[in-house]
């Protein structure tokens, strides 16, 4: 064992306050082997989350109702990563699956940048939302492959929904590879700008719990319907997450393929 690897941990008292990789010790000027490999493990999880495919069949089994399957114009993951514009547009071959109705809400689950996030958190969020809808009407659920946030615009428009909501895998970090984001847009139609959406982010085991996210989302939906808008003109004012309010685990196990 190299003499200059730190044996004690003077950072022990800080570790509860941050997930940052502090006090890793040194092998000369480099990282000690354990810290090096832990980093590589975290990066591997993040990479697998980005490049993994959502198991839509397994997901659908756990949803409250049958869903419609669509895909974007990005044919594969490599195209998806290079061409965000294609990930925002609906593949025309899917258009006939979406028929116009009269709905308050269209809910879309998109893979985004983390299949793991969709596997772990989409089902609990959908159920939590389902139980809070009250008299709000919701179009058939849509599952969207190679989806960017704005893909919910043409989908919501085609379904004739007053509001579209996209649940989507967020770009993985090293500390969290399975974080889900929610984006709400009033009057969905192609060409809506990001400033016209409201976002709830960081739904994961150390962030926002599905029930709390659903509470906030329902509040946003009702406000949006009342005001007839979404985005910067609609500030979220629901009570913030209380400490100790732990998230419930997903019904599906995380998948790495």
């Amino acid at each position: 064992m190299a003499r200059d690897i730190i044996a004690l941990d003077p950072f022990a008292r800080f570790r509860a306050a941050t997930r940052a990789r502090i006090g890793l010790g040194r092998a000369g000027d480099g990282l000690p082997t354990t810290a090096l490999l832990e980093f590589q493990l975290a990066h591997a999880k993040a990479r697998d989350a980005v490049h993994g495919a959502v198991d839509w069949d397994a997901l659908e089994e756990h949803l409250p109702a049958p869903a419609i399957r669509v895909k974007s114009l990005a044919a594969d993951r490599s195209t998806y990563l290079r061409r965000p514009d294609l990930g925002r547009r609906l593949d025309p071959s899917c258009a006939h699956l979406l028929s116009k109705g009269d709905w308050d809400l269209a809910l879309v689950i998109g893979d985004g940048l983390s299949a793991a996030a969709v596997h772990t958190w989409a089902v609990p969020v959908v159920w939590a939302l389902h139980m809070r809808l009250g008299c709000l009407s919701m179009a058939p659920l849509v599952l969207a492959e190679q989806a960017r946030v704005a893909l919910a615009d043409p989908i919501g428009e085609a379904l004739g929904a007053r509001i579209s909501v996209m649940l989507i895998g967020e770009r993985p970090g090293l500390s969290v590879a399975d974080s889900l984001g929610i984006y709400m847009t009033h009057g969905p139609r192609s060409g809506r700008r990001d400033g016209e959406r409201n976002c709830l982010s960081n739904i994961h085991a150390h962030g926002l719990a599905p029930a709390a996210a659903a509470d906030k989302l329902v509040w946003l939906i009702r406000q949006s319907l009342r005001l007839g808008l979404s985005g910067v003109g609609l500030k979220e004012e629901t009570p913030s997450l209380q400490p100790g309010q732990g998230p419930t685990p997903g019904l599906l196990p995380p998948s790495s393929d």
Partner: protein, 462 residues
């Protein structure tokens, strides 16, 4: 409008305008492909470079890529052009400029004198004719020195930003990451936080906390909360201990409007920060971040390739005498820079162009998890930039930014690079490290035992 063309193997390659020529001459990258501006074949790319090599530099003075009337960045660039500084190269083509930059005639003093005579677009153009090694070799000749409480950019020095971000701005968490970095000798360029809560009150809380840490240990460095310039202005009005004004800047008026800024606002903020007179060894009070792809992502690139429009951001930055400028090169994502090859190239271009234009250029050597890159690639870019004489690099604990969810360099990387290339921190900071017992008599920062006196001192104070 003139048409540019070159004949290659019996085929005539035509480029409709200067913007098209520059875009086609650019090394391949996903952002230009996304914008539909990239050369459609490798042959066409070389044809564009051949036409560009024969282009007189004076063309850039007569042919604005974005009209003077339509864009205040163009007006700034044209109005501040120094014809006398340009005179020594006024007769050259872009290709001749490349040869001259590499020549022994172009030494550090000559290049420093040239900077005000160069338009950003000239720097962009010549960079497109240079290999990675050329970008390193020419940049290494240029020194840009700035100062506030420490002096950054001196020969034989390599400074660093300590970036102790925390997902909820937890004071203890930020303090822990800060102390960890100081033990590695990181933080002589700035201790700079990207705030999770982006409002004036939160910003003042963080500024106050950083200033207390700095004063408690008498650290000769500056702190910064990387919030919007309008928040910094309000914080200064409320008496917050603000050292540096931060702002992201881009290369067009429309893209800057997307950031919620214009040139007048930057000027107002610089004057306000100068008025606080907090610098001890110098009066550079601005900190700018830039990055290829920013203008395109704001749909405000005016048909310019992302590298050319990036250099116009340097044209904005240099008007405000910044202490620090860095490109966040790999942060923007694979739709602009797809993989490590593109990130490494862009990092070297940004550093070279910034230095050539007279900026105190640093680089956030970084990538996101959806780009085709990893820490091995960051090692390569870091080693190249170290040899290119980069003013500063950014370090986060274990290379993992837990707030912004991307990977930069680690504190280990910074200390390792300094030792490998025999570069020291800023002189004021180096003296402090020695005073604290963190650096040895050779200026090296060795590993400490867990019960070492300097460690105990810092932790007791934390």
């Amino acid at each position: 409008m003139p048409v540019y063309a070159t004949v290659l193997g019996g085929e005539r390659h035509v480029f409709a305008d200067l913007a098209t020529l520059l875009a086609c001459a650019s090394p391949r990258r996903s952002g230009d492909e996304l914008a539909g501006l990239a050369a459609t074949s490798e042959l066409r790319r070389v044809a564009a470079r051949m036409a560009l090599a024969d282009l007189p530099l004076k063309t850039f003075l007569s042919e604005a890529l974005i009209p003077y009337e339509a864009d205040e960045v163009t007006r700034l660039i044209i109005d501040s052009h120094d014809a006398a500084a340009f005179a020594p190269i006024a007769h050259m083509t872009v290709g001749q400029l490349r040869d001259w930059l590499l020549s022994y005639d172009a030494d550090g003093a000559t290049l420093a004198a040239l900077a005000p005579g160069l338009l950003p677009e000239m720097a962009a153009a010549v960079s497109k004719l240079m290999r990675n090694g050329d970008l390193v070799a020419v940049a290494a000749k240029i020194r840009v020195v700035t100062a506030f409480r420490s002096t950054i950019g001196l020969p034989g020095r390599l400074s660093s930003r300590l970036q102790p971000n925390h997902p909820t701005d937890d004071p203890l968490g930020i303090a822990a990451s800060t102390l960890d970095g100081l033990l590695f000798g990181v933080g002589d360029a700035v201790i700079g936080i990207n705030p999770a809560t982006d409002n004036v009150e939160a910003c003042i809380t963080l500024l106050t906390m950083l200033d207390e840490v700095r004063q408690r240990f008498d650290i000769p460095t500056q702190s910064c909360v990387l919030t919007h310039v309008s928040n910094s202005l309000q914080a200064m009005e409320k008496g917050a201990p603000l050292d540096l004004v931060f702002q992201s800047v881009a290369g067009t008026e429309a893209a800057n409007r997307g950031f919620g800024i214009d040139l007048a606002l930057l000027a107002e903020a610089e004057q306000a920060a100068l008025g606080l007179k907090r610098g001890t060894v110098g009066g550079n009070v601005m900190y700018f971040e830039t990055g290829q792809g920013a203008a395109l992502s704001a749909d405000a690139h005016h048909g310019l390739d992302q590298q050319t429009v990036e250099t116009r951001a340097y044209g904005v930055a240099r008007a405000f005498r910044p202490l620090l400028v860095n490109t966040v090169v790999g942060f923007i994502g694979p739709e602009y820079l797809f993989d490590a090859k593109q990130i490494i190239r862009a990092g070297l271009e940004d550093h070279f162009c910034g230095k050539l234009l007279g900026l105190p250029m640093g680089v956030d050597v970084c990538y996101t998890n959806h780009a085709e890159a990893d820490q091995d690639d960051m090692d390569v870019l870091m080693l190249l930039l170290g040899n290119a004489g980069v003013n500063f690099l950014i370090g986060v604990p274990g290379a993992d930014d837990v707030m912004l969810n991307y990977q930069s360099l680690s504190y280990h990387d910074v200390v390792g690079l300094r030792h490998l290339l025999d570069r020291k921190p800023a002189p004021e900071f180096e003296s402090w490290l020695m005073r604290m017992g963190l650096a040895d008599s050779n200026g090296k920062v060795p590993p400490l035992g867990g019960d070492a006196a300097p460690l105990r001192r810092l932790l007791a104070g934390g």
